[in-house]
Symmetry: D2
Subunit: 494 residues, 4 copies
């Protein structure tokens, strides 16, 4: 049979992993099978780890200024081929082309930050820690790092880690999502061209066997994961037990708080983009709106539903929607769709008002696609499951609070704490929200407060199992070990 087979990239070569089974990769808009992903065996994964471990022994000694040169080239190659990668991403994942391009922007940005490593990785020098004695802090790489990529950002999330790991002198292996492996296949084509020594970067495909093998191998020094909270917990526990570093980013339920003084027209537009981008399948998507005060609540409910109706649900590669401003594609799979429909049912049963129903939406020519239209619940209370659960689809719940304090309490009582935003022009409210809302990333008049790559990225509470956030200069701490030197020489003549 002629379906394209996804490959691993090990020790600088493209290979089919031996003895592996395969599963289908589907276009979620059409149901078409795009390719097949191998389920790599532990032996196949170990081979990649061993290659990375061997490569580390020379890579660590390459001066940092040389280590970043391939990243400059990679950033350029990816930029030059942005459209090809974005289309691949849209085809296998279902997000709109503008969303795919926005994702690529963060990819470039992260490469660029890591290119600054010759300055950023410098350690400290204390002259005279005591008489005739000096102290130094050397920030040195550790060895092989790995990451386990999610389906929703198959390009961006790996680049929260990859460029930093490599620039600091470690070697790095990615496990792509088995549902959306093709984007990383294309990206790896470009990585292959930038002259990294074999083994410095590796790509393996498969299911959780791959992750388990990462965690079992003594040469793996750390694991980064973006996934569900239960998986985060397992990864954290196993890594801790094995004395490996870990960063595990989990679930989210991001709140948007609208204050009475907010500029309502701007707010509504901003909310819609925030809630329905990637069909709600992003860890920074907003899915809970909290309106402060009765009047604000009334207005938001009405205007948000109105604006939600204007979102076009379609196959994002359909040329007919190319010029539209707000296009929403399918969710990732039939299973995901079933879960979302189930949650909508739950919301109805819990007594929330289904103000906009995205079920039963038909996209002509895409009968096998996994589409759900914008869905809005009003009259939602904090106790309800549709508020407590990460639905990961285009389903928005609207709650009311009497005061900002109450709005913050709703956020702080929630298990997750990834992002949270406030809409207000008032500096007092903004400061209070920044300090008190328990979320790792805070927006002020920004619906998706995902930081640019020049700053760290990460959540709080059940949204993150990690001491150190991704991206920015923060992650350098994750990829380096502080080695502390105390040095003196006994006096010589002369």
């Amino acid at each position: 049979m002629s379906t394209k087979r996804v490959k691993n990239y090990v020790n600088g070569e493209w290979i089919d992993p031996e003895n592996s089974g395969y599963i289908d990769v589907e276009n979620p808009s059409t149901g078409e099978v795009l390719a097949q992903t191998p389920l790599s065996t532990p032996a196949a994964v170990n081979r990649a780890i061993d290659a990375a471990a061997a490569a580390f022994e020379t890579w660590r000694h390459v001066p940092v200024a040389r280590r970043v040169q391939p990243l400059y080239d990679l950033a350029r190659l990816l930029r030059d081929n942005e459209e090809r990668i974005a289309r691949t991403l849209t085809e296998e994942m279902g997000k709109s082309l503008p969303d795919a391009r926005a994702e690529m922007k963060r990819v470039f940005e992260n490469c660029e930050v890591a290119c600054g490593m010759p300055v950023l990785q410098q350690g400290d020098k204390l002259v005279g820690s005591s008489y005739d004695i000096d102290g130094e802090v050397l920030k040195l790489p550790l060895g092989v790092f790995t990451m386990i990529a999610p389906f929703n950002f198959p390009a961006m999330v790996p680049f929260w880690f990859l460029p930093y790991a490599i620039a600091t002198g470690n070697t790095f292996i990615i496990k792509a999502s088995k549902q959306v492996p093709l984007t990383m296949q294309v990206i790896t084509e470009y990585i292959d061209q930038v002259g990294l020594p074999p083994g410095v970067f590796g790509l393996v495909n498969g299911d959780r066997v791959v992750a388990d093998t990462f965690m079992a191998h003594p040469k793996v020094k750390g694991v980064s994961l973006v996934g569900s909270t239960p998986v985060c917990r397992q990864v954290a526990e196993k890594c801790a037990q094995a004395n490996k570093r870990f960063q595990a980013m989990g679930g989210a339920k991001n709140h948007l708080v609208a204050m009475p003084d907010a500029k309502i027209d701007d707010v509504i537009r901003n909310m819609v983009t925030s809630c329905y981008g990637c069909a709600g399948q992003r860890c920074m998507a907003s899915s809970a709106i909290v309106a402060v005060g009765d009047a604000t609540y009334e207005t938001i409910c009405r205007r948000f539903v109105e604006e939600s109706r204007k979102v076009i649900t379609a196959n994002p590669l359909d040329p007919a929607v190319a010029g539209e401003s707000m296009v929403m594609g399918p969710v990732i799979s039939a299973k995901a769709k079933a879960f979302i429909l189930d949650m909508i049912e739950t919301g109805i049963n819990e007594g929330a008002t289904l103000a906009l129903d995205g079920r039963g939406l038909a996209v002509p020519g895409c009968e096998k696609g996994h589409f759900i239209g914008p869905t809005v619940f009003t009259d939602v209370k904090p106790g309800m499951q549709i508020h407590q659960t990460e639905i990961f689809g285009p389903v928005v719940v609207i709650l009311k609070a009497d005061t900002l304090d109450e709005a913050i309490r709703i956020i702080n009582d929630h298990q997750y704490g990834n992002g949270a935003s406030i809409y207000t022009q008032n500096g007092y409210y903004a400061r209070k929200f920044k300090l008190e809302a328990e979320a790792g990333m805070i927006g002020v008049n920004i619906g998706i407060p995902a930081p640019v790559a020049y700053l760290p990225f990460g959540g709080m509470k059940a949204s993150q199992f990690a001491d150190i956030k991704a991206q920015g200069k923060a992650i350098i701490e994750f990829y380096t070990e502080d080695k502390i030197v105390t040095e003196r020489y006994w006096p010589e003549e002369g």
Copy 2:
């Protein structure tokens, strides 16, 4: 019965924990019972945690410049009362008075570094993360942190954490060592005087039930531990599972590498101090000497044994030894002594040469003390148990290597990687050692490469389960959460 009872310090008050049993605290030089330690129950510990959690809600909002004022006062009080604390420490732990004073020096230093928090805790501000949008990184406290102290540094180790935790706006609870709880009792007397709001600092006494309670309580955000590697592993695993931060410092076997060009007279004196200080019971004690080359090996073996014989083993509070330069006290307990004697037996059986035998040493008037004299094995091979095991007593093994590469290999093949030192005047060897020896703390012509508090402290491999080291500016990352803000305001008139 009238034996003094150790108390807990909870919510700003000294209390006897309810319903607890008690165990004896012994002077290891004399066997005398000094006091009794309560074994706090989970209920007693939870009360301390709840007080700390309540205190956090106001303490976090106190400006950082005010939060450090009590630490200035504490540093001064401890300095003014150094001798009292040092004598308490020596009495219950057995280390010499100069060693106890050296320990106190690090206590002051750590307070002083934490006093710099108004500068050090500043976050970042990115003007123009995009058009009209700014980014911020706020470094905010998390809540209640705890630490579990070891017997060997009952004053210093808590201060790797305490001042930083409090200065950053967290609240903090220490579990003192049940074997040496008195030093922290005295220190807490001074903490009690510096005006911290109730609950900001707490002290609980007991056994591993306390540690388990820390890890079980949802309000505890992090745990720091200095203990054995197996306990580290458990703490790491439990904390990860519960999404708590952890720093767990474990076992060590620190190597001293002597190069042929080293200044031998200085080296020998330095080695002796390094090996027998605190009777070898410190995580930074050296216990394995690697001599490079036959001639170096011969000289070191001869000279080191000679110099070891000069060490005076005695009750460190005996006025007769007050003026002596190198006094060594007992090990901590009969159990510890039995283990060490067993390891000496093992070394003999493994075929190492017992070049100096510290067994059977009698300290007049201290018949119940747990003394072992300086003990040296030569002809030791890397495979032997006396080289692989952390003996934690005054037992030194001497190995030979043909080259620096071989010496580094011996270090790198060892499970532990806390400290490692090289003796050489040669810059090439020093640099190679600094970069290649796998230990978190490296010394060059420094036998105990424990960094000053202005730099971080921490090991590698099985010596440390943690991403972030203790002390210095590094630990601020442990005690703060980066909250990332993306902020804009929509344009107004005018």
Copy 3:
């Protein structure tokens, strides 16, 4: 005659400078002669510089952690004797006791920031600047630094520099204000007690001959000055010519912009404190109010005059005013008073409305004091001399602007750019003001935006001749030279 004579402090000893003349120090509230200041000759000043240069050769090699110990002690001594110093300050300078205490607070703060030098002075270490080559940046002291103190903050301004200069390993000489030398006499009593080696700190008294001698001596590495803009310019020029570092802080005219949405009651109170503290004689005093919009202007004019009337002008040491909330003392001298009266005359002649007239005010029992009451001009236009000139007294001008843009233009067209504040609750206006108003220090709802010592202090435009600001971690760059090391060793055997 028995009038107290101010002394110099040179090489650790109090001395009367040889061959100097003397001038009187006056209590500006009463005209009483408090003491006499010597006018040190160049020879006397050179002796102090030579002592400082000699002291540098050992002080620079004292480990930084030891260099800061005297600063800890000094901070404590000054705190313990705050009231004595504050009263001396009030007596010779005329500011209220609360103002004097507020000044002392900054003194302590600056000591505390400098105490953090063991962490803050660390340089950088780049492992692998090329193959087998490392780079280092060492932050080393330079030698003798000097500073020339103003009359208005005789305690605080010296401490923007002193603790940092000394902590970084330089030696330091202060020229006190000849009008208010007594505060530094008292402070130096305490400096004398903290164990600095002789010559590390020196104090000389006199007039501009002292400053000229500083600039002429080849061993002086830098000069800091707070004074008038013309003097700043001369100091900058001479220092540049002699390749010395300099920081020269000059004149100011600080604007307060009130937006229509500001909380007017809070604003008015805040403005009054800002304008009349130290009788307007501080470089961060506000002396120009810009109200945005007609209604705001009307309200501010009325309310500000009302509130200004409540300020009590009095001898600040008069027990009768001890409990009053807003007491204003005299200006510094008869000459200063004459200049201010002249400016008031000018304002009247320029056509501004004298809404409150502080002239002719009598303070019973203080007939020889230099008092002027709160004085307010309204209907002021940007072109007027009373707006363009730094009056340095309790004279406030109120202007009107139609928009925030116009208010900012008024600020930016002014020659000075020290501080500027906006009153608004609106985040958009606040951000615009922060970015666009050309002043080194910006306040948002803060009338005196003088930064705490944990941040730098300094102005823009004619208010500052310097690349590097005072205070905080910024000033470390001023007191250290980056020495850049490129280091390698050729390979050795083994």
Copy 4:
């Protein structure tokens, strides 16, 4: 006449400056006239400054992440066209092609460091500078900066400044060397292609009238210069007087200290490269060797002269020398040659031994070139003019010292303090030298200790008039003003 005319680049356009005279640009190897440089009038220069000032008003508000994009492109374009630029540089300046390529490497590096500005330009955020008050440090651009380039590094030196000035949001004008203007002409062709808004970068050609015009214009905020010490002094003085920032790098006489333990073969090779690269015309060239001890002195004198004889003096573009390892070209001009010959005469008259005489050397086919061969003086004493003067040609003086202390004293007594290097394997000597030798850039076993761009660049004493060094993250302080914000909002309801 058809000789190529050098152009200015103003407001995004290539122009011939109006009313200017012209002078010849000569190939120093052949005397051939390559082009003519215009001598821009003040009016022409002011036009460039006004364009830059206008461009600043929009450029400053472009987000920093966008400001660096043209620098990425520029780095790539320059890399892709390295050979063309290097040949232009060699043709007009005379240095060898390998030296020209090494210069270009630093150009790329500096672009790359500046590309890190989105992280490096971040300011500080202090939450809670007091109750409910926050502090911020914003690092903002100032306006128009200028630089005055030297003839010897017409590509590298401008890039110590250009990328940083632009990345931080300032606008920037270069005055190229009138002797070697062509390299910057070519580089500006590429700058022209990268999409900078008109006026952000400008290039003007001419003589000191240009520099004077920079210093006279009120919109110019700073001047950087690499030139002679007397010119530095004038620039510093004028800038200080006008309250402009300045960095002025001046003369040098860099010492190489050889210790007895140094690896002599490596040392000699390293010294030769260091002394004769660019025919000795670089501010980091070594021109004084200090041998410690009689034996070292004897060996160095003999071996260095031997090795110096092997240097091939030739037209560096002569294909016959393309494969040679050590080729030395001419000095820059007949005038420079005359000065050098004069200094050789002086050395002879002072009594030094002319151990190798580079005078009278003929390069066939280059009779009009300004060649001098390697020239070595031995028996040189510190007092001699050939030791005190910067000769800026291939003339090396060798001195003897009895001890390292004496060698350091020779360095420290010299007026200049740019670079200084020690050859030793001994860590004690290296540390002592690093701390005590008064030079801004220190080498250990590195003859030319010019730091990579990831670290700062700058000298001490008469070699630098500046507080802040060039390159690396240090220079960001030069190109930004710290604006300090103190911010609060009064409480609102809710």
